[in-house]
């Protein structure tokens, strides 16, 4: 555990190596990346197991000393960090492996691995940071990695725009985080989590200030985790390569927001208002994104909205004081959403780059491996009993019920219904029925390097939930809150009917989807025909982007034009004036530097003459 700091370094080494000699290695770059992440994974597993039996380990050294303030850097291995290390390095390793097949033949193959290495380093560094400042640094670094990877196909206009959008929208959130961080530092004189919690618990910080900082930090999480209203970058980020979507925009980076809230959970616990805000935003995002997901036709976008919705779930869980539920769902979601994305990537790979589900269908027979794995992911995310998603979702709902937000609880339940519906809609449209695209013969199963990670994730998506069940004991939950009573009990014990209701809703959604898209006993146009306006609104994602375009973007554009005007005519004018004066002086000087000895002599003598005359007239030897 003392050497946990090595874990992020392996991807960094891979990053540096590939940066230097990636061009020569070409496709062999993959092995470097895979090896590095594999070593990280092994270390992470070791650290995770050690953490089961040993207390939290943390190390730090003084980084900056400003007067009495000591800003430290270091690392910490607590339960949450160990778990996150495991999740991140696992998904990262699998995605590295998967990309070897998926990105095969790409011109910038090694560059892709360079970016992946950078991102993995940053993400692993993020999850072992013991203080806010370090967290913030890695937080921005993962943002950079995400930006680079979304814009990987930079020759596509959409990818460029998406990368910019992702960068700017997350930056809006980051400003909140930054302000919150500085406020906390101002109040507690420390960036360190432990110090901050100590100060908060000791009542050194006023209640209003706690609420303010908590909400500001939550704003950062909102940006990163794609919560409403900063969610719209995440679906657009699907322009990146699919493995990236799986790694960054499903399992790890977007979960960083949830992680941040979880890491600072004692701070949030100290403010009821902040918790309520989180719960409301989380629940709203969950149902809001799920409803959009109902009608999207791009396979990756459906998954993206699903991700937004599930992240909303996690936030909702945390907001309902369900620390364990949130983290638990974060873990299971990482498994099954990464699985779904990788499977989707496999499907896209199979049909030759097409992402439109209207042009798929009947792939079950063709993709003997991908199909069942996708089904596992679908079942897991829908919350069908006995799979991982069921347990974590149940945990969240129980926590919500205990948290005492009946309306939000209802929303979450409906979101669960939606989730089941759109996931099975996706499944039936892609895998059953007739193939609706062209080139049916071309459809082929993916290579082993792509199926292997999916199988691993598939297994985890099934069994991942059994670490924390109401039936066999809540090991994960007990372990997570061990030694920290503030985080609440290990397991939220809800009434049995919650489980039944959740099961009912998810099965209902699945059944409904089957009726429409599987059995086709209900016309597909039934929904879109009945609620024509609603359908259009959903298809256009509630016109959120357009709304932003017309309000915030327009306003900021107006302001920018104003500033541009000022800049061009006022600032630049002043600058030009200054520069032209200096330039004129320079030209004059250059003219004086004529190289004419006589001129130099004349000027020097005239200077002397003037001095002598002045001296003679004003005093000197005459007086």
């Amino acid at each position: 555990m003392e050497n946990a700091w090595l874990i992020p370094l392996f991807p960094l080494v891979s990053f540096v190596i590939l940066l230097l000699i990636g061009k020569q290695l070409k496709e062999r770059s993959a092995y470097v990346g895979i090896l590095a992440t594999f070593v990280s994974l092994v270390f992470s597993i070791v650290v995770l197991f050690q953490r089961f039996f040993e207390p939290t380990y943390s190390a730090k050294f003084n980084w900056l000393t400003i007067g009495d303030l000591h800003i430290t850097a270091g690392f910490e291995v607590n339960q949450l960090n160990a778990l996150m290390l495991f999740i991140v390095s696992l998904v990262s390793f699998l995605v590295h492996t998967y990309s070897k097949g998926y990105m095969h033949g790409d011109e910038r193959f090694s560059v892709f691995y360079v970016y992946l290495g950078l991102f993995t380093f940053a993400m692993l560094g993020l999850v072992i940071s013991p203080n806010l400042l370090q967290t913030y640094i890695f937080w921005e670094l993962v943002g950079l990695g995400s930006f680079l990877l979304i814009g990987f196909y930079f020759y596509k206009e959409e990818a460029k725009a998406a990368a910019k959008k992702a960068f700017i929208m997350t930056r809006i959130g980051d400003v909140g985080l930054f302000i919150g961080m500085i406020l906390l530092f101002w109040q507690t004189k420390s960036f360190e989590y432990s110090e901050i919690f100590k100060a908060v618990n000791a009542g050194q910080v006023s209640g209003t200030m706690i609420t303010l900082t908590a909400i500001l930090i939550f704003v950062g999480a909102v940006g990163k985790s794609g919560q409403f209203p900063l969610h719209s970058w995440l679906p657009d980020a699907m322009e990146g390569p699919t493995p990236v979507s799986a790694l960054i925009h499903a399992a790890t980076m977007v979960a960083a927001g949830v992680y941040l809230v979880a890491a600072l959970f004692p701070l949030f616990l100290a403010s009821k208002t902040a918790l309520l805000t989180i719960a409301i935003i989380g629940a709203f995002t969950a149902i809001f994104a799920a409803s959009i997901g109902l009608v999207q036709t791009d396979i990756k976008r459906v998954l993206a909205y699903s991700t937004v919705s599930q992240l909303g779930y996690m936030m909702f869980a945390l907001g309902s004081a369900g620390y364990v539920a949130g983290v638990f769902h974060l873990m299971t979601h990482a498994f099954f959403k990464a699985l779904l994305f990788l499977a989707a990537g496999s499907v896209i790979h199979a049909v030759g780059g097409n992402q439109d589900i209207e042009k798929m269908g009947g792939l079950w027979k063709k993709l003997k491996l991908t199909g069942p794995l996708f089904l596992i992911g679908t079942l897991a995310i829908s919350g069908v009993p006995l799979l991982s998603g069921f347990f974590s979702k149940d945990e969240i709902l129980a926590a919500a019920w205990e948290g005492g937000h009946p309306i939000l609880f209802l929303l979450a339940l409906i979101a669960a219904f939606f989730t089941a519906f759109y996931m099975f809609r996706l499944f039936f449209l892609v895998f059953t029925g007739e193939f609706r695209g062209k080139d049916e013969k071309h459809v082929h199963e993916s290579p082993g390097s792509m199926t292997f990670p999916m199988i691993v994730l598939g297994v985890l998506a099934i069994v991942g939930g059994y670490v924390n069940t109401p039936w066999f004991g809540s090991y994960l939950g007990d372990w997570l809150v061990q030694g920290n009573a503030k985080l609440g009990s290990g397991h939220a014990e809800g009434p049995v009917w919650i489980q039944l209701a959740a099961t009912l809703f998810s099965l209902g959604g699945s059944f409904f989807a089957w009726l429409i898209y599987g059995k086709r006993s209900v016309s597909r146009d039934w929904l879109s025909g009945k609620g024509g306006i609603l359908h259009t609104i959903l298809l256009n994602k509630y016109y959120i982007d357009e709304f932003y375009q017309m309000t915030i973007v327009a306003i900021s554009k107006g302001i920018s034009y104003l500033f541009r005007f000022i800049d061009v005519f006022l600032v630049e004018g002043l600058v030009k004036l200054v520069t032209s004066i200096i330039q004129g002086l320079g030209k004059l000087g250059a003219k004086l530097q004529s190289g004419q000895v006589q001129t130099y002599g004349a000027v020097a003598f005239l200077g002397l003459a003037v001095l002598v005359v002045i001296f003679a007239l004003t005093g000197g030897y005459l007086r």
Partner: protein, 104 residues
């Protein structure tokens, strides 16, 4: 004892010095510039010799210094002319305003 006051010689030296200075700063021909400089040296020598005779402690030192100055002046004239030759060979001009090597 002399009936001529020291200031007369000093004034002569001043006038010659100013003529030499004006010539050195305005003439185009480098040879003339060099000669003007010699004239300025001469003016200074007059001062030296004057002060070797006048004053409370007349001494031969002033005349000796004049001799040294003449030696240096002669050497300067020789080297100056040699430099002029060298420049003339390269630039085919003796006009001082065309020798602007310091500019570049």
């Amino acid at each position: 004892m002399s009936s001529v006051p020291a200031s007369a010689f000093l004034a002569l030296a001043l006038i010659l010095f100013c003529i030499g200075l004006y010539g050195a700063l305005t003439k185009r021909n480098t040879v003339i510039v060099l000669i003007s400089i010699e004239l300025m040296l001469n003016a200074v020598n007059i001062n030296l010799v004057t002060f070797s005779k006048y004053g409370l402690n007349p001494s031969i030192t002033g005349q000796v210094f004049t001799l040294f100055a003449m030696a240096v002046g002669a050497a300067e004239a020789a080297v100056g002319l040699a430099i002029l030759m060298s420049v003339y060979r390269n630039k085919k001009t003796v006009h001082i305003d065309e020798m602007d090597e310091m500019k570049n």
